[in-house]
Amino acid sequence: MITVERQPWDVMVEHAQKTYPNECCGAMLGSIDGEVKNVRLALPLENAYEGAQRERYELRPEDLLFAEREARKNGMDLIGIFHSHPDCDAYFSKTDLENSCPWYSFIVLSIQQGKFHHANSWLPNMEQTEAAKEELTHPNA
């Protein structure tokens, strides 16, 4: 289960709406207590994909290294990645799956006509062949 607090949630939604009609991406920092993850800080990161960003995103490893360092500095953990799907649902696509990492939660925000619509969280497996839906709670749920 993953819970996103109000402040990071607002940052994630604002980043997704601001980058519309392109896909956005970022890192989620917080804490893990057993099976429960709590997102306390969201870091918007640049979509580094060099083609059509309406359909793709790419995170620079250097930016994830920065996110990991920020987490350690603030006594938090890097626990997940978020990105947006402009004008489509918050599913975990084949492209998402094949370029995922099983260590993290992946929150997908559906942005319809420039506004937040709904979100889901996904947990990909090690082989990057399937992703399980993770229970997600957020202020707009």
């Binding site: 896909e23 893990i32 994909y49 359909e55 793709r56 995103y57 790419e58 995170l59 490893p61 250097e62 994830l64 290294l65 990991e68 987490a71 350690r72 953990d77 890097l78 626990i79 990645i81 990105h83 799907h85 402009p86 489509c88 696509s93 492209t95 998402d96 799956l97 370029n99 995922s100 990492c101 099983p102 260590w103 993290y104 992946f106 090690m126 990057q128």
Partner: protein, 91 residues
């Protein structure tokens, strides 16, 4: 000894440590020492063919080892090795 920083989700496989100091003169030797000391980490980092998984990047200090000498990159006692995921996607 070089230090390897362990990403949060992998700490459960590394004795709950957020970093581990290991022996090794190269990045490859250091990672081998890490997975020998903590065997459960191996399947998270390497595929069945013994190659680093596609979503695993390794940095020595601030440099991606792919742009150095890959796993043969030399490491010293003051160096820090980071395991950084490779992540992308799209609708």
């Amino acid at each position: 000894m070089p230090k390897i920083l362990i990403p949060t989700p992998l700490r459960q496989f590394a004795g709950k440590n957020d970093s581990v100091e290991v022996a090794g003169a190269t990045v490859g030797e250091a990672l081998a020492a890490l997975t020998t000391a903590h065997p459960d980490l191996k399947k998270n980092l390497y595929n069945d063919e013994g190659k680093l998984r596609s979503f695993v990047n390794v940095y020595m200090n601030d440099e991606d080892i792919r742009f150095l000498e890959k796993e043969k990159t030399a490491v010293g006692s003051n160096d820090t090795i980071s395991i950084v995921p490779s992540i992308a996607g799209g609708r």
